[in-house]
């Protein structure tokens, strides 16, 4: 049990890394992060999500997006547009080439 892989996927690590970096930089407090994560976990549980690490990390991502929307740093629409831009970039990039935004 001590040797299970730390993360299933890279994005999971990146979520925690971003949250930790922004707590360190004072973008939001450790307490605000913990509250937001706790609420997102509660919401996932209430919605009947499976009690898995995937659910945990998705809740962590929700919490992070929510905090940055609340502070006005990353409005929801900006995030949505950027996600679409990345999706399009992936779809337009042939296999094996680096994916970049236009």
């Amino acid at each position: 049990m001590d040797r299970e892989p730390v993360f299933d996927e890279l994005w999971q690590a990146q979520v925690l890394a971003m949250a930790d970096a922004m707590v360190a930089a004072g973008t939001f407090s450790a307490g605000a992060w913990s509250e937001a994560l706790g609420s997102a976990l509660k919401a996932a549980e209430a919605a009947g999500a499976e009690d898995t690490s995937q659910t945990y990390y998705e809740a962590a991502l929700e919490a992070l997006e929510g905090l940055l929307q609340g502070s006005g740093d990353v409005p929801a629409q900006m995030l949505e547009e950027r996600r679409e831009a990345w999706r399009d970039a992936y779809l337009a990039t042939p296999h094996g080439e680096p994916v970049e935004l236009p």
């Binding site: 049990m1 730390v6 990146q14 925690l16 971003m18 922004m22 360190a24 945990y56 940055l68």
Partner: protein, 216 residues
């Protein structure tokens, strides 16, 4: 006659472009690229964090703290009175550790750590929290039925041993100092550290072996 189904078309697209990341991965990519542009995160900091926590940090630092406490009574006294200052002596203070309180297991006391709200954890000492620590099942049951939870980890606690459950917060996190196993008098600090398991420092393991597990 039309049977255009956008969901189906999207599905076909996903198959054609198999390198399209999963939905959460795309969201993270979007968020990170925006935060970098706004100067709120440094991409090198993120990459370094991911590398360090995926590979290096693990629970080794916590084990070093415990081994030092076993061999140095003065350090142990400082650790138990002010955990943050004590681990600072070893250079292990990270912002994620917040205030650290070390709690010691004895013949009559077993300590168990949980975060009932989310997943607060001293990860600059123990690495990233194990998946079970983050589950709703553990978070809700560790307080209500600690002996039952411990039994599921294969840890039987005698009736005359008091179980103390510590609920972590963003501001205060815990490190369990397990009991030093008997028959380890000839081991040095590094040898002792190799005996300390991550779970013992959370409290879901109690009796440590006097011989280190084989590295796999």
């Amino acid at each position: 006659m039309t049977d255009y189904d956008p969901a189906k078309v999207a599905e076909i697209h996903r198959h054609l472009h198999s390198h399209l990341p999963s939905e959460p991965a795309l969201r993270v990519k979007a968020l990170e690229s925006l935060l970098v542009e706004k100067g709120l995160v440094d991409p090198q900091t993120i990459d370094a964090w991911v590398e360090a926590y995926s590979e290096e940090i693990g629970p080794k630092r916590g084990a070093a703290v415990v081994a030092k406490a076993w061999t140095d009574d003065a350090f142990k006294a400082r650790l138990l009175s002010d955990g943050t200052a004590a681990i600072d002596e070893l250079g292990f203070v990270g912002n994620a550790t917040a205030h650290l309180k070390a709690v010691e297991n004895t013949d009559g006391i077993h300590n168990l750590v949980v975060c009932t709200l989310c997943s607060c954890y001293p990860f600059s000492l123990l690495g990233v929290a194990p998946n079970w620590y983050k589950t709703a099942a553990y978070r809700s049951r560790a307080v209500r039925d600690p002996r039952g939870v411990l039994a599921e980890f294969g840890v039987e606690i005698a009736d005359d041993v008091e179980v103390r459950v510590w609920d972590s917060t963003a501001e205060l996190r815990y490190l369990v100092v397990p009991q030093r196993p008997a028959g380890t008098d000839d081991l040095d600090e590094a040898g002792l550290a190799a005996l300390v398991t991550r779970n013992a420092m959370i409290g879901t393991d109690r009796v440590l072996s006097a011989t280190a597990p084989e590295a796999s």
